[in-house]
């Protein structure tokens, strides 16, 4: 394959609507936070250059719509992910309960070559809310779940207070890089590529 070093890491951020996926990403990439809730439509990424050990890599962070009705084109972008971040809101039980579904769904749709060891990271966000008085999912419970799913690293974060966000994404980058498998080496069947061209459809000329 080419001598070009592969330095692009694809990270998918999943979780229920309103848990703070976009906020976490914005805090990490742009160092910005807004209290305003804006739904995400479809999937979109931001990139961030990050130093992992002594390598400089580009992280492509895919933010996704938590609301199903804003995910009309499906999840083709899961493919080729190097790490999947599962986010829940420590103040809302349901968002934690749904982590299972998000994880399953990801493994089915992304179909990584080694699902057992595919790197996930779990983030329990919004630990700042009401000074932690309104939290309903304990750290212990979340850690137990993460451990039971193949020792997934777990972080408690606050996008609002910028608490633990960098630390979490550092691990995300590190684990994504570890996952870097040999890219499928493509060898063309024949040297003469033009001879292999399939018939083009008879569409319009645009």
């Amino acid at each position: 394959m080419s001598g070009r070093k592969r330095t692009l890491l694809k990270v998918i951020i999943l979780g229920d609507s309103g848990v703070g996926k976009t906020s976490l990403m914005n805090q990490y990439v742009n160092k910005k936070f807004s209290n305003q809730y804006k739904a995400t439509i479809g999937a979109d990424f931001l990139t961030k250059e990050v130093q992992v050990d002594d390598r400089l890599v580009t992280m492509q962070l895919w933010d996704t719509a938590g609301q199903e009705r804003f995910q009309s084109l499906g999840v083709a972008f899961y493919r080729g992910a190097d790490c999947c971040v599962l986010v829940y809101d420590v103040n809302v039980n349901k968002t934690f309960d749904n982590l299972d579904n998000w994880r399953e769904e990801f493994l089915i749709q992304a179909s990584p070559s080694d699902p057992e060891n595919f790197p996930f990271v779990v983030l329990g966000n919004k630990v700042d809310v009401d000074g932690g008085n309104s939290r309903v999912v304990s750290e212990k419970k979340a850690k137990a779940w993460s451990a039971s799913k193949g020792n997934i690293p777990y972080f408690e974060t606050s996008a609002k207070e910028d608490y633990n966000v960098d630390a979490a994404f550092q691990i995300i980058a590190k684990n994504a890089l570890k996952n870097e498998t040999e890219e499928e080496i493509y060898l063309p069947d024949t040297i003469d590529v033009n001879a292999q061209r399939p018939q083009k459809s008879s569409g319009c000329e645009c």
């Binding site: 080419s2 001598g3 070009r4 692009l8 807004s34 305003q36 809730y37 804006k38 739904a39 995400t40 439509i41 479809g42 979109d44 931001l46 719509a65 609301q67 009705r69 804003f70 995910q71 009309s72 084109l73 499906g74 083709a76 972008f77 493919r79 080729g80 493509y186 060898l187 063309p188 590529v193 292999q196 061209r197 399939p198 083009k200 459809s201 569409g203 319009c204 000329e205 645009c206």
Partner: protein, 795 residues
Amino acid sequence: MNEHSITATEEQEKWLADAQNVVKQQSFYMRKALDSSNLREALKYSAQMLVELRTSKLSPQKYYELYMQTFDELRHLEAFFQEESKRGRSNADLYELVQHAGNILPRLYLLITVGSVYIRSKEAPAKDILKDLVEMSRGVQHPIRGLFLRSYLSQISKDKLPDTGSDYEGEGGTIHDAVEFVLQNFTEMNKLWVRMQHQGSAKDKADREKREKERSELRDLVGKNLLVLSQLEGVDLELYKSTVLPRVLEQVVNCKDEIAQGYLMDCIIQVFPDEYHLQTLETLLAACPQLQPKVDIKSTMAGLMERLANYAAANSQVLSVFAEVEAFEKLSTAVATVVEAQVDMPLVSAVSLHVALLNFVLRCHADRLDYVDSVLGSCVKMLAGQGKIREAKSVKAIVALLSEPLAQYGDVVTVLQLGHYGQLMATLEFETNKVMAVLVIQSILKNGTRIGDCARVEALFQLLQELIRDGEDAPPVDQLDQEDFAEEQNLVARLLHVLVNDDPEEQFKILSAARKQFGLGGPRRLVFTLPPLVVESLKLVRRLQARGEVEEGGVTPKKVFQFLHQTVEALANVPAPELAFRLYLLCAEAASDCDLEPIAYEFFTQAFILYEEDIADSKAQVTALQLMTGTLQRTVVFGTENRDTLTHKATGYSAKLLKKPDQCRAVYNCSHLFWQDQEKGTRDGERVLLCLKRALRIANAAQQQANATRGSGGPVTLFVEILNKYLYHFDKGNQQVTTTVLQGLLELISTEVNSESAVQDPATEAFYASTLKHISFQKQKGGEAGDRYEAIKVQ
């Protein structure tokens, strides 16, 4: 059909796989060219790779997969352009160079890719390049291809817009250029998306369904532009209000496409912040009635209201803003306008809109009962002339409108202040109305609510009409499920006990109001509803009695007794003679306690008349006489004349019962009528003895009758019972009951017990033995009782 669809799926898979293979192949050569820094080759292979995106065969989701694959590959190309640029190659040259690609679609993808690097280099103002790219993209008019191409432009340019505070602001342009660019891209994308609807046959159902499915899959590409707008730093409230929202709404309204309108309205509501919505409610809501009739505007508006309610719930300090911008008033007006404008709107949607509005009020302004009532009123107004609502979903929505305030306030008194509540309830057909009425009562009972205001009570009865009387809509009572009917009526009966006020005047008003309502219920209901009314009235009598003097015109026991008389009479007319009989006696006793002789006498008279005329069953007669005797025994109000009349009647009827044993027992019970413990009570030993002797005679006759018919005398139970009555009166000090009389009776029983014809009965024997033991015990006790019992011999 199924087989066909499997084939179609497989076909899609195959087409996608083919295209992906070509992309792999071409990108392989592209990367090779990139590695050797061969720009021309790289461009050639990348263009050949991008040609695959010209396919018309793939469904949007499959096309998206192919797009994602090429998208990833183009990042390598972009990185190369970046390096080239760093190495000193002019971006303007590159921008020219890629335009040599033969096909327009690959050409534009390449152009946008270079454009990205070009903007970043700042060699030309961002706004100019963006403008050029968005204009050039017009060249692709095929909807799916065009949408993905513009989506690529949107994605690539997102972080390079001359947004406020961005690197590209200034020479690159201003926020206005950024907004203009996104709006233009949005408008063009929406047009492409809407145009799809008009391709192909409108009549062919399968064709239309397929097209609508495809459109639905593509919608996020269009909606994402709105997300980009909402993420721009420079789009502050001012700009949003003056430019962004009006322009977006203009496109939404003018496209006249129901799929686009419904979706985009939802997007606007979801991607822009609550603060903005609050400050632009009028504009946003004004668009709603202008949408196509088939747009599900209910969900859109409900979505908005839910969002705002969530916002208020999470930030109580913004409630003042809600008031300031008159959020409720605007939403309320909008609901009414939309319902009016969309004549074809299904009823359920119209009612659901009110449910959404109500939930908004309950969450944001729970203290504003006037708001709650105005929502109900608006719904009533809308339903006017529709008659009873029977369509299941609408009914459910109306029930929700009625149940929410109950649940919220947990207090019917509050709900009763809602003037339109009853009117709304009246739109429900019989069965549902009843269910709702039951809910109301259950809420009252569960929450221990006390309703002590006559006006409220009347309002409450208004709500409970279907339970209280036969409505026009209701089936005849005898066709109802009797078990349910009884259960419901018992609930109404229980309700009466919470309609209390400490002020007797108000209490009497309440009872009179209840009486009036219950009176409409017909005989089947009266038997359930009137008894508690009588009981409550008697409670009132007791309170009045304790109160003593009253002012002129105030309620008096007499008044209440008149009320009671008329109430019990109604029960008697049902007819429910046994029930009325009991209640007459209760009233009689209460009147006696109040020292109202004529009234007490009247009640007794009525009871006797009922006995004579309507209580024919011999068992019922036995019970009735027991009650009569008991009550009369406790009554001390009567003068000799009245008393004699009544006791005479009672003893007379006792002796006329059908069965001898019943006669006997009734008669010995009558002995109590002549010996009252009370201070003013009658004590007529002679007549006591007469009763007892008469009972004894009847017992004898009973035994003879048994002998004659069955050949055995039967147990001596009656004799033992009579003996006990004698002992009772003996203990009471009745001089007529002498030890001689007792001795005689004891011997009689002893003979009977030992006679051959006696029937063994363990219970009677035990009773007898206990009686004898009692006598012995009294003898041994000594003192006064011992002396009295001294003379009695027990074997």
